[in-house]
Amino acid sequence: MAFSQLLLSMQKVIQEDQNGQSYHEVMRQRKEAGGLPRHIAIIMDGNRRYAKALGKPSSFGHLKGKERLEQVIRWVLGELGIQYLTVFALSMENLQGRAQWEVEELLNLMALGLEQISRDREIADKKIKVRVVGALESLPSRLRRAAEEAERFTERGGEGGTLTICIGYGGRQELLQAVKKLAKDYADGSIALESIDESSMKQHLYTPDIPDPDLMIRTSGEQRISNFMLWQAAYSELYFSPLPWPEFDEWALIGALDDYLSRTRRFGH
């Protein structure tokens, strides 16, 4: 990890020197050139690894991760003008599998973040819409209330971008709840068997109005999807960054976008 950090900081120096430009300039250029993804999804992995490498407790890592998320939201929705950003904050497996005290700390941090959103004038002015999806009924009441409040506070937004936060989320669970809804509709007689197809499945997912992610980024070097947006990721370009999430800075984001721009998307054709 130290070696990849060194490599990336060297890259950063070279980039700044070559262009002599700040990342604001570079982001502006990318935005003007066009071709950017409409929807970016991020698996924010590596908070604990980051903290451990610094010899600090994992709550430090999560705090830094939250700060990094706030920055990335500004870069993606603000500077780059990308319409949709979805982040994987906490998986269903993490919710059930990790130590109780750690999960509680993390959920409190998320509740705090969502409460801050409901008081943030900048979010309202920029017309950003916030959605929270996942198994919300299994989350503590403070977090649930904060999520509902944040959604209500921003429900008239959308022009400035949509941020979807996945908490207690599982891709398979999302698909299963869609299947249950379809089964129920079929049992009620409100849907015929022949009309059950891919689009009817999509309609019953958590966010049917949001287009599928064009680019999915996973930080911290792990190369797997970990049950995130399985249906929607069918044709997403995947990008794996070796950096732990708190170190995924502006240049790493630009690097991911440049990689995306260099790909030819064929959708099977």
Partner: protein, 253 residues
């Protein structure tokens, strides 16, 4: 004499590689997205194996080689993405070439049964077989019939397949009560039953996307994207993918 020595030393290398890898955890189910045939038109290695054949034909020979390596390593289930429903939108000439090749190779598999019998491989063709031309469908059914009693390993060939279509069909097929719907039931309704999980997914040619392949089953798979084109995919590439799987194995648990 020289050729014999080379062949013998290659066999030894394969044996050693497989022994070393088998010291660690071996994935039970490996899936391959065999991308890069069109860009290849055949590498030097493949040209030695068969003169004058095109990219897709190389791809098939490569598949047989890869299957042998997987069996050596003790991998029980291999699933390959041969042709997607979306691929039908390609040029008519290409689609026809692929269909003819599929029919030829499936017939070959069904007729020279030595390979399947020797390794106890059960062949399953997954996908919406009804949209395939009649001859291809017949060849597919024959290949499946001939090997249906084998139990040692499974080769799933996905033709006219997309994961989304399979999942939608699974929902449509089951007259389910909402309360019956569970993880296991859904997995049982997909083509790949009874296997519900992919352990390692390898995509060649450097593209880093899933392209609608085994989305449900790959939820927790170790995904390896390799820049090599499929006809150039060698045992060393497979070994490197398996090593990555072994590295992340403890995290997966």
């Amino acid at each position: 004499m020289k050729k014999g020595v080379v062949r013998w030393s290659k066999r030894l290398a394969r044996f050693l590689v497989s022994r070393v890898l088998r010291c660690g955890p071996i994935p039970k189910h490996v899936a391959f997205i065999m991308d890069g045939n069109r860009r290849s038109g055949g590498s030097r290695r493949m040209k030695r194996l068969s003169e004058g054949q095109e990219g897709h034909a190389y791809g098939f020979l490569q598949l047989k080689e890869c299957l042998k390596w997987c069996l050596d390593l003790g991998i029980k289930v291999v699933t390959v993405y041969a042709f997607s429903l979306e691929n039908f939108k390609r040029s008519a000439v290409e689609v026809e070439t692929i269909m003819k090749l599929a029919e030829e190779k499936l017939n070959e598999l069904a007729e020279e049964r030595g390979f399947l019998d020797r390794h106890g491989i059960k062949v399953q063709i997954l996908g919406d077989l009804d949209v395939l031309p009649q001859h291809v469908k017949a060849a597919a059914c024959r290949a499946m019939k001939v090997s249906e009693h084998h139990e040692q390993a499974v080769l799933n060939i996905c033709i006219a397949y997309t994961s989304l279509a399979n999942m939608a069909e699974a929902v449509e097929d089951g007259t389910l009560k909402p309360d019956d719907v569970t993880d296991e039931l859904f997995s049982e309704s997909l083509y790949t039953r009874p296997v519900s999980q992919v352990d390692l997914l390898v995509r060649t040619s450097g593209e880093t996307r899933l392209s609608d392949f085994l989305l449900w089953q790959s939820a927790c798979a170790c995904v390896q994207f390799q820049p090599v084109l499929w006809p150039d995919f060698s045992l060393w590439h497979l070994a490197s993918a398996i090593l990555q799987y072994q590295r992340s194995f403890s995290d997966l648990q």
